[in-house]
Amino acid sequence: MNSSFERHRNIVDFALSSLLRRKAKNLSLLAVYTLIVFVIASIIFFIHALKREAMLVLQNAPDMVVQRLAAGRNDPIPLGYQEKIAAIRGVSGVEPRLWGYYFDAAVGANYTLMASDKQQLEPESVIIGSGVARTRRLAEGDMMAFRAYNGEPTLFQVQSILPYASELVAADLIILSNRDFHALFNFPKGVATDFAVSVRNPRELTTIAAKIVRQFPDTRPILKREILRTYDSIFDWRGGMMIVVVAMAVLSFIIFAWDKATGLSAEERKEIGTLKSIGWETTDVLFLKFWEGSAISLSAFLCGVILAYCHVFFFSASLFEHALKGWAVLYPQFKLTPAVDPYQLAVLFFLTVIPYTVTTIVPSWRAATVEPDAAMRS
């Protein structure tokens, strides 16, 4: 039963044994290839999962945030605007937000401080994010010192700590009452950092934003759709940026593969000459080289993807922490929920297996057209 399947199985047999014969070269090629697939896959998985989680969580962000700009910089918005904005038809509520940043010199971390009266906060007490608790090793009931606007330390008691799972959104968050916020920063009365506007019908957002801008030219409305799209395009850009960085690695790998394939050792050339002399045809040798190439790229692709999956979703991308963390002392620890779709795997396949296969076409053809009678003359 002469079937081409049997023929290919035989050729695969010989391809694998010829790969194993030059173990050092091929194993190093496989290792580099798996590493590259691993890095690219980790990036793609990490970004996709983070983007999905950002979208899910930030769906509940305020419909619109209205800021005031003075000379291109954010400036507190007077509470006077609140009634006029609330008066616009379609607006269901305007809530001023008071928030700012605090640099904790002791630890070198930046916290986001937010004033809120809905958290049943006793005076002189705060709710802190679990990131802050971890950085300052605080527990409930401990005291926490802040340097007020005039330099004097003011003490706050930690009333409660936000759940560990909320680190993605509130790792560096510190909530305190309005009175404490004003006292700490000597924040002027009658103004707020910005307004969180909620509307009855989300489709009206653009018209309401237009009205706000016409009424208050110095304000800048930011719609929820814009917030989401910021993350959508940023991550793509970041994904793209990292991919460009890794593209250099792929390029170097292709050069590595090219010189591996063209640098046909005399031994290999003689072996192919023997094959051709005893009855292997050029297409058989081409299939031999094809199977050698795809054996390496297939196993590298599959191992790389599986390792990347474990790295991103079981060890929450610990390798990337330093790259993403930058100089921040406080970096949220969050466990990403797995989110992988076949589209990404197809993209990954395109980015790694195809360049490799293309680079080995010409060299394998050059190897395959060794003269059959060369073996006779050698």
């Binding site: 991919i243 589209y343 990404q344 993209v347 395109f350 980015l351 195809i354 360049p355 293309v358 076409i361």
Partner: protein, 332 residues
């Protein structure tokens, strides 16, 4: 410029393919010029070895064309969230002038590569490379087209700026919108259905006739190409309505999405594969009885007809059972 991993993959892939084809083209021209099967000269032997390289390159190009066609549509569909107003791939393709020409170029190149591989397969069966001249003349046609496609691809993706207001596929394919996609949607569904089913029936009849009798090849090939064109128009004008169960949603790309069970991929593969097989049968006809081809071509044509009929059957079955079970009843 949207630097997405998928966009990068497509650009890198098509660049590599274009370089490979250029490499193959310059050898193809040398082969065309110096080919002389009778002489045993050194040059003739190197040219013969070169043919292996070119057919390997073309088969990789063909495989890449198919994969990148679907990846391109999926990427366009994936990017629609970046453009306000784009509901699916149709909208994204409409962002700049190069979207649709690029799609058409990709389909045309896919068909040409398919044809080339069919002819090359027939050629390798002959004892004296009978179709070599025709094969490399065709290569001279394919290479510029692929390079043009790569140019379109770069223009399209370089011209993509996030959040360009674009018309959504509903309006793009709406009846009153000028332009080819508009007209395709404007074709009345009643006559289109009859045209589609009669086209399929005629192709089957002439295919079976040609399969058994070996005559009427040109009719079959012409009919299968005609049915291919009708099916593309039918896909937009009424088939996808049954999938969406919405009389106005004419977009042919949305059936590729998850909520329709990726049925679009099967339909597209069946249609494209059937088209290539049908046209391949026709192209092989003139060589039917020339020398060593007389033994090879008839059996190859029979296999091509079988694939064509099978794929068209798959396409028709999916469409008709969808029409039966769909809750949308289109007035005639």
């Amino acid at each position: 410029m949207i630097l997405q991993p998928a966009v990068l993959a497509l650009l890198v892939g098509s660049l590599l393919t274009s370089f490979m084809l250029l490499y193959a083209l310059c050898y193809g021209i040398r082969i065309l010029a110096r080919w002389n099967i009778k002489s045993g000269s050194e040059l003739q032997l190197t040219l013969e070895r070169r043919t292996y390289l070119i057919s390997t390159i073309l088969s990789y190009t063909m495989a890449f064309q198919l994969l990148s066609l679907f990846l391109f549509i999926y990427t366009a569909d994936h990017l629609h969230s970046q453009f306000s107003g784009a509901m699916c791939a149709a909208g994204t393709l409409n962002v700049n002038a190069f979207g649709y020409p690029l799609l058409i170029m990709k389909i045309v190149n896919f068909m040409f590569s398919g044809l080339w591989l069919i002819i090359s397969h027939a050629d390798t069966r002959g004892y004296d490379y009978p179709l070599i001249k025709f094969k490399y003349a065709l290569l001279i046609v394919i290479a510029p087209l692929v390079i043009l496609e790569t140019f379109f691809l770069f223009e399209y993706f370089l011209g993509l700026h996030a959040d360009v207001i674009t018309s959504c596929c509903g309006s793009l394919f709406s009846i009153d919108k000028p332009g080819i996609s508009g007209d395709l949607a404007a074709l009345p569904s009643g006559p289109m259905e009859t045209a589609f089913f009669s086209g399929m029936a005629l192709t089957f009849a002439s295919g079976l006739y040609f399969y058994c009798k070996g005559k009427g090849g040109y009719i079959f090939s012409a009919l299968s190409f005609l049915t291919f064109a009708i099916s593309v128009a039918a896909l937009i004008s009424f088939i996808c309505l049954y999938f969406y169960e919405l009389p106005t949603h004419h977009c042919p790309f949305c059936i590729l999405q998850k909520e329709y069970g990726y049925v679009g991929y099967i339909l597209y593969i069946a249609l494209l594969g059937g088209g290539v097989a049908g046209i391949g049968t026709g192209v092989l006809l003139p060589m039917r009885n020339s020398g060593s081809m007389a033994r090879v071509v008839p059996s190859l044509q029979r296999r091509l007809i079988a694939t064509n009929l099978l794929l068209y059957l798959v396409f028709t079955l999916i469409v008709s059972c969808r029409m039966i079970f769909s809750s949308l009843i289109l007035g005639k």
